[in-house]
Amino acid sequence: MSKNTRILTVDDSASMRALLNHALSTNGFEVSQADDGVSALEWLAVNEVDVVITDINMPRLDGFGLIEQVRGGTRHRDRPILVLTTESSDEKKARARAAGATGWIVKPFDTEKLVAAVRRVAH
């Protein structure tokens, strides 16, 4: 890929955003941040992105709601979206997938796992 993969991270926790930002930007990704679903949608309305990584439980608009809106829109509906989940049960995965997520990252994650997950879905 000639240009960097652009990633939007959505998490209401500043430390989690910082962790993601640190891990991803040191691996050559271009990282933008939003602190909940609503601000993510606002950002997406005017920006381009290759992969979205979102937390699930957030105020105002949660991760599933965000995915719903993105998939329901036109601009980014085919973007890969990874959800951050604390559990790796099949039920959780099935639900994430049913909600429209492309994949998931199980917290706590290490940098390799994170980068591998992003690479796996980045077009």
Partner: protein, 752 residues
């Protein structure tokens, strides 16, 4: 940003989460038990858990897991919200705070075994109930249906797609793989014993959700797999071709050293939407066309959701409208989940349905404090520059009153909003109080009801941060010394439960914080006797009630008959007053025997800008901080009496206070050599009582921005700092406390 800095952010976040959870639980106790409130508490604990895991705090993570699980049950209505439960949750929250503290300070994790057992018991109570969730947990996402009907074994390559496929597969396997119509298994076998086959057939849903099956084939190739066969038998004629369907199937020959797990991992995300069969005995799974597709039996509620979505995707333009019921449909059947789907209905559909307990998670951005301080500094400079401009223009006789007043009001607005950025609601300090009271209740047996007023009152962040300690001490003091034991209260005809009232309000540019108890009030006889015994006051001294009350601030004073472990921590009330004073505040006492005691703190709203009295001393202009000024007066004949050879005392309504000539103390020539020629400013000091400063004249009263002398020059005794005046000159700010203490011989100082 370094990992340490990120950790710092995490701990700041923990504090916020703890405060949010505390507020939420308090709201629950008051009866606000709607889903937003409960979910707020859940989210707070959930967020701490997430960070704990990410930063490797095992004990914290393990504890929050139990806590979170219980909260999840509460949120889902599986555990009823009862007073005992809220009490348990509050205690769990206290221990959580201790856990966070231990993680931050690297100390030992608190003993949480009993609490965990209690929480588990609270959960177990509902486990027996029939409503137990998650029967749908087993969805075979990793096990695609092993369809072995020989549909794909009939190679039907009479198509022009051949060349196309060659191109496609050549991307994945270095040698051209589409060599012809060979049986795939033979083909795989012919690659040598070192390989094993992987059969892949993406289904209709494989392109949903931003998935791209091509990437999975790419990943297989990256593992060293070679595409040995592509099944195109199911590709229909063009008129029946639907781009959303999965018609193609592939067989890859994987090198022997590649494990099955690593291959399965590639298809982890796609789950049921791509059929995968591994091993020599397997075949390419059969095509599953979407439209009438019968669901595999294991797929229940969630699978239905997926299907709805697939349908919606085909529906085209009307999809957005179709979402709304879909949303409700997927949100409802999710009983066992912890991860928030259960609440998204209310959150997304009706964000303002129920008023949340407190505006905890407002919309906010985080700014580096240095940037903010820089802004405030600059605004301070702007204020000065504006004042300089006014002075210059007036001096030059330019009449631009309208423009200047506009500029002035704009400058003031900018200044106020810049300061308000640094301002935080005092709730962040008040929110810690319930915890303190709970701790005190268990150690003293005194149960205290808390009343809080004005917790949204805002003041400077630095003031807030440094207010915590004195406030904590005052609260401990109020419970320990102020509020009586339950039996004494009953005997005095009061309710056995004490009441502590915290309030904050803005009053004339300062914030007034009151900590009031309804206890016995200060026992002045005991206090006076103690002060005499300790040699703090002269036995013959005639002290007013107020003066006696203030004795408890004297260094070395402690009235507790025995030093308890609550207030008697070696930190006396003198330190409290010192802390408050350092923040530019003052503390006063209002006590009524039998009714209670109130400590009233008057704090500046900010530390960056203060009000001052601009005075002239000789050729110098100085600033006296207004916080210290009690009154200013021109003494009349006979108001000032000599004392000894060179000291003078001012008679203020019958009370004599020492006169200090400001010019002398600061070694500048003073025009007014006798008090009658100048102006006396009566100031209040913490350590030396009142004194009167003699200056030539009072010039103005205005706001000033403090510039530190210590950082720009060196510390100077009697000078608190410097500021720039409207005319561009530098004026020194008088350190009233230091100056007075220094100027007066010890025996002349009054007991404060």
């Amino acid at each position: 940003m370094s990992p340490e800095e990120i950790q710092q952010i995490f701990f700041v976040e923990c504090e916020e989460s703890l405060a949010a959870a505390e507020a939420g639980l308090a709201a629950c106790r008051e009866g606000t038990q709607d889903s937003d409130t409960v979910n707020g508490v859940f989210r707070a604990v959930h967020s701490i858990k997430g960070g704990a895991g990410a930063f490797g705090y095992g004990a914290l993570q393990a504890y929050t897991h139990t806590f979170e699980t219980l909260l999840s049950d509460v949120r889902e209505g599986l555990v009823a919200i009862e007073p005992e439960l809220i009490d348990l949750l509050l205690r769990a929250l206290d221990t959580l705070a201790d856990h966070v503290e231990a993680a931050r300070e690297g100390g030992d994790a608190p003993d949480d075994a009993a609490l965990i057992a209690e929480m588990e018991a609270a959960m177990a109570a509902n486990l027996a109930a029939p409503a137990s969730p998650s029967p749908v947990a087993e969805i075979p996402s990793d096990d695609p249906p092993q369809s072995s009907e020989a549909a794909s074994e009939d190679p039907d390559f009479g198509l022009d797609l051949d060349a196309l496929l060659d191109d496609l597969t050549a991307d994945f396997a270095p040698p051209p793989a589409g060599e012809g119509a060979t049986d795939p298994l033979d083909m795989a076998a012919s690659q040598g014993t070192g390989t094993w086959p992987v059969h892949v057939r993406p289904k209709a849903g494989a392109m949903r959700n931003g998935s791209e099956p091509l990437l999975m084939l790419r990943d297989l190739a990256e593992l060293g797999g070679r595409c040995v066969h592509c099944d195109v038998s199911q590709v229909p004629q063009l008129d029946g071709f639907d781009v959303a369907q999965g018609y193609l199937g592939w067989t890859f020959a994987m090198p022997g050293e590649v494990t099955e797990d690593s291959v399965r991992e590639i298809f982890d995300f796609i789950g049921d939407d791509c059929a995968v069969a591994l091993g020599a005995d397997a075949q390419i799974p059969e095509v599953e066309l979407a439209s009438p597709a019968p669901q595999p039996s294991g797929q229940a509620a969630n699978g239905q959701g997926a299907d709805d979505r697939g349908a919606a995707l085909e529906a085209g333009p009307s999809r957005t409208e179709a979402r709304e019921p879909d949303e409700a449909g997927t949100a409802a059947p999710s009983p066992g989940g912890n991860d928030g789907a259960a609440t998204r209905g209310p959150v997304a559909a009706a964000p303002a349905a129920a008023p949340p307990a407190a505006p905890v998670a407002g919309q906010s951005i985080r700014i580096d404090l240095h940037k903010l301080d820089r802004l405030i500094d600059l605004v301070g400079e702007l204020v000065i520059a504006q004042a300089m401009l006014v002075q210059r223009l007036e001096g030059a006789g330019v009449n631009a009153t309208e423009e200047l007043s506009l500029l002035e009001s704009l400058t003031r607005d900018i200044q106020e909003s810049a300061m308000s950025i640094r301002a935080q609601p005092i709730a962040s300090v008040f929110s810690r109080v319930p915890r303190i009271l709970r701790d005190l209740a268990s150690s003293t047996g005194k149960h205290v009801r808390l009343e809080v007023h004005g917790e949204t009152t805002e003041l400077d962040k630095t003031v807030i941060e440094r207010l915590g300690e004195p406030l904590t001490h005052l609260i401990r003091n109020a419970v320990d010394h102020g509020i009586e034991k339950a039996e004494d209260r009953i005997a005095a005809g009061k309710s056995p439960e004490g009441t502590l009232t915290l309030s904050a309000e803005h009053r004339s540019g300062r914030i007034v914080i009151s900590i009031a108890d309804d206890g016995a009030g200060i026992n002045r006889e005991v206090v006076l006797a103690k002060a005499i015994e300790k040699g703090i006051v002269n036995p013959e001294a005639q002290l007013s009630a107020e003066e006696i009350d203030n004795l408890i601030f004297a260094p070395g004073f402690s009235t507790a008959k025995q030093i308890s472990n609550i207030s008697g921590r070696g930190v006396g009330m003198d330190v409290v007053r010192q802390n408050v004073k350092e923040l530019g505040g003052r503390i006063t006492i209002e006590s009524t025997p039998g009714k209670g005691t109130a400590f009233i703190l008057t704090m500046p709203l900010t530390l960056a800008i203060s009000d001052g009295m601009i005075v002239n001393v000789g050729d110098q202009t100085m600033v006296v901080p207004l916080a210290h000024v009690v009154e200013s007066l021109r003494p009349g004949e006979g108001d000032v009496k000599g004392l000894g050879s060179n000291r003078r005392m001012l008679n203020v309504r019958g009370q004599f206070i020492p006169v200090i000539t400001l010019g002398e103390e600061l070694s500048t020539a003073c025009n007014a050599t006798t008090p009658e020629e100048g102006v006396l400013i009566v100031v209040d000091t913490e350590s030396a009582g009142q004194a009167a400063l003699l200056v030539d004249d009072i010039h103005d009263q205005r706001q000033f921005v403090i510039k530190s002398l210590a950082t720009n020059f060196r510390p100077v005794e009697g000078v608190a700092g410097a500021t720039i005046l409207g005319d561009g000159r530098v004026a020194l700010i008088v350190d009233v406390d230091g100056l007075v203490a220094c100027a007066l011989p010890a025996h002349e100082r009054q007991a404060a």
